[in-house]
Amino acid sequence: MTEPLIFEHSRPGRRAVAQAPLGEAGISVPDRFRRRNTPHLPEVTELQALRHYTRLSQLNYSIDTHFYPLGSCTMKYNPRACNTLAMLPEFLARHPLAPVSHGQGFLECLFELQEILKAVTGLHEVTLAPMAGAQGEFAGVAMIRAYHDARGDTERDEILVPDAAHGTNPATATMCGCKAVEIPTLSNGDVDFDALQSALGPKTAGIMLTNPSTLGVFERRILEISKSVHEAGGLLYYDGANLNAILGKARPGDMGFDCIHLNLHKTFSTPHGGGGPGCGAVGVNERLSPFIPTPLVERGENGFQWITADHRPQSIGRLSAFMGNAGVLLRAYVYARMLGREGMPRVAEFATLNANYLARRLSDAGFTLAFPERRASHEFIVTLKSEAREMGVTAMDFAKALLDRGFHAPTTYFPLLVPECLLIEPTETESKEALDGFVDAMVDIRNSAMHDAAAVKAAPVTTPVRRLDEVRAARKLDVRWQAGNE
């Protein structure tokens, strides 16, 4: 099951009907600026394009078609109402530089979303502007640097990052001109507090923490950690990747974090879209408020209005041309209203119930949990080290074999410190029977591997393509089609 490239459907002179009419008169662009060659874009009919991209879509696994327990990504149901209401014609047609007098409805949604996010994080102020989690992280570390600089404390350029952290954390530290200092993790999944304390010092700018961590457990000594970091003169940054686990149950602000980003595309159910757009809304306490990236929305005497860097001279400034991913924010707002104050804690409750149930069922079925003595948060890790040793099948083989059984694979080989790991996040929107089906599939794969490991290692066989030659992809780089290179 493959589909030719759109360029292979192309025939010279073929046209779609939706094209704009030709301008009547000549234009004033002098010849020397004019394009000499015609770009090779497809020449297809509307039906051909529609059929091609519909067929391509059918080659994807997605939440709407499959259970998608991709750990750390919170692949929950994206309610369709959120999309429909964010795409009302008035919202789509709104120019970002249109006067606020003609955008009060839009701004009211943003303002209320800021207020809702303040309440769930326990922080003083929220901006919705950062366009993805990684940009929220950038904002956080840039604010921490700006805070120290403003105090004349210019030697602090070390950001502590647990070894289990997302790669974006150390990469962000570098982008902000800081050095990432890795902190080890104990065998029980908690950060090594002693190692953390000895890493703290006059060079410490701050720490980036995810809580619950990427190991799927709550950082139990978080209050001691925040006390120590603050005493050393550093600040705490909360990576909101796993906020789904504690929504309405505990707040990063209460844990001592100075700033936080939230992934609205995770916790607030905006679509992942095949890899974006995301939204990394950022919350700060009073200490970091002067440095918050702009713009934000405030309620003034004459209605809702923008707060820009003009009003916040110490702000780290804007990180996008306009107001971040506005359409994503409207989707998150609709979702937040449908959850309401009653629904938010239920997100954490059922995400946690599903994760602990699935963890226990897999454990009872003979799989090894990475942290069996710990309570799972909204996700947990299975290590397939013994399966790899005894049967020669790896986490990657299990992942591919799951695809053949109608499941998207969990996250594999992350966090890096657990060997042969699957990071499994079922989310609150999956039913018990979906989870039971997943357990059955895992058991079935292991049974197959016991009799015929080669069959499991050959998976997937039902997908549009089989395992791909990634070495060749990198060595014989083919990243664009060219006429005649078939």
């Binding site: 301008g23 974006t168 570098t174 992942h272 974006g276 757009p277």
Partner: protein, 457 residues
């Protein structure tokens, strides 16, 4: 409701298997002093029907207004099919294509997108997108400093005619890594950068020169001379372009003798609605030899174990999830869904359709400028050739005029005073192919009425 399917009986069964008395017990590792029990300041839940009513009411309050603002976001017709396909669940609700075998749709689409962007910009390689145009320029600046091995200064020249918001973002994002960005002044007569004005930088260590085309004023820059200057001075030429304009204007790959080195910009004009400023997407293309310095995702074509062609993410060793603190950028996701829309949009328009959009937008802007400059109090500012935007000067402050126009149902343009006070009472206007001659007349009539009103002076 959090859209959870659990019946009471299932909850009981699941807790029994876990060995917990109730759901609360599952949170027993959180220190009790951190637990909260209510979110009283959050509004109570509403039904889908109620939130639908709220959103419709707010949308209606904002209304639909005849718009002549461009300034970095452009209103173009989008074929109905584009977003109907884009919002199919298989695109909308999938994630980054880590499991290639289960993501061939998204991966092939990105490969097609990369091809189209290479074709439009005249470059060898395109990444899978960045957040928006402004952050794409920032990433291009960082990339140029990494890629230009002849330069040690971390110093870049940026045209003062580049969108001022882009310049702010470049400064904000590159500051931490110590880049030094210097602005080139704009010629107040022509409205672009005079290549001779670069003379004073000759012989200095410059990593890159950032060249917009068209520039923020809609004026066309002398891109050949600027590109050649960059190369003669061991600097990389970084083009910031409107992709629709490239249907008409020379591709950056053909600028000057050797062509630009890195091309970036905002993809919004390719099938993405204005939607209050986002989500849009940034694009970035470059010459083959810089591919390993590129930020962001990249899709490659390869074969599976049966020799069948297929697609996968490639050169991931550049990226944060592998390289961590030594990655080319901290970027993780791209703007996948917007790329989906843009790819379908470009397929439906083709080169000819894009050319028609570009031509008729130029034509409409020319008509708008002609109609408005018939008014005594309005004149054009720059004599350089322009694309689909133009700068006009009024005989009075722009802000009250725009406000009065808005009351008459027209967004009359973007006030340049905040960013370019030296231009006086300057206004940036834009008319795309979506505006009819009658829209332009309506706009001119409203300007005439507002300018005649003594209260707006």
């Amino acid at each position: 409701m959090p859209f959870n399917p659990h019946t009471n009986e299932e909850i009981r069964d699941m807790l029994a298997i876990i060995g917990a008395d109730d759901i609360e017990q599952l949170f027993d590792e959180i220190p009790p002093e951190l637990r909260i029990n209510a979110l009283s300041s959050i509004p109570p839940m509403v039904s889908e029907m109620e939130v639908t009513r709220i959103m419709h009411e707010r949308a209606k309050r904002d209304g639909l207004t005849l718009n002549f603002i461009g300034a970095g976001a452009y209103e173009h017709h989008i074929p109905a099919a584009v977003w109907q396909i884009t919002t199919r669940g298989e695109y909308y609700s999938a994630y980054t294509p880590y499991q290639a075998e289960a993501s061939q749709g998204t991966l092939q689409l990105i490969y097609e997108y990369q091809t189209m962007m290479c074709e439009l910009t005249g470059m060898d390689v395109s990444n899978a997108s960045l957040y928006d145009g402004a952050s794409a320029v920032a990433e291009a600046a960082l990339m140029a400093v990494r890629a230009n091995r002849k330069s040690k200064s971390g110093r870049l020249l940026i045209a003062g005619t580049l969108n001022p918001r882009y310049r702010q973002v470049v400064a904000n994002i590159t500051q931490g890594q110590g880049l030094k960005i210097e602005e080139l002044p704009c010629c107040t007569e022509l409205g672009n950068i005079i290549p001779e004005s670069l003379k004073r930088y000759e012989g200095q260590d410059i990593a890159g020169l950032i060249i917009p085309q068209p520039n923020f004023f809609g004026v066309i820059e002398e891109v050949d001379a600027l590109t050649d200057w960059a190369h003669a001075n061991n600097a990389l030429a970084i083009a910031v372009v409107n992709p629709v304009a490239l249907a008409l204007l020379e591709a950056p790959g053909n600028w000057g003798a050797r062509g630009a080195d890195i091309v970036c910009g905002d993809g919004q004009p390719l099938g993405v609605p204005l939607s209050a400023g986002g989500p849009y997407f940034g694009f970035l293309t470059c010459r083959q030899d810089f591919v390993r310095q590129m930020p962001g995702r990249l899709v490659g074509r390869t074969v599976d174990l049966e020799g069948k062609p297929g697609f996968t993410l490639t050169l991931q060793a550049r990226e944060q999830h592998i390289r961590r603190s030594r990655a080319t950028s901290n970027i993780c996701t791209n703007q996948g869904l917007l790329v989906t829309a843009a790819t379908i949009h470009m397929s439906m328009l083709g080169a000819e359709g894009l050319r028609r959009v570009a031509l008729s937008s130029c034509e409409r802007t020319r008509q708008l400028v002609d109609a408005l400059t018939e008014i005594d109090a309005i004149e054009t500012v720059f004599s350089g050739p322009n694309f689909h935007e133009a700068v006009l000067r009024l005989d009075r402050p722009v802000a009250p005029v725009l406000e009065a126009l808005a009351h008459r149902g027209i967004f009359g343009g973007y006030d340049l005073y905040g960013s370019y006070p030296e231009l006086g009472h300057a206004l940036l206007v834009c008319a795309t192919e979506t505006k009819t001659e009658s829209d332009i007349q309506t706009c001119a009539t409203a300007f005439r009425a507002v300018m005649a009103d003594a209260r707006v002076a």
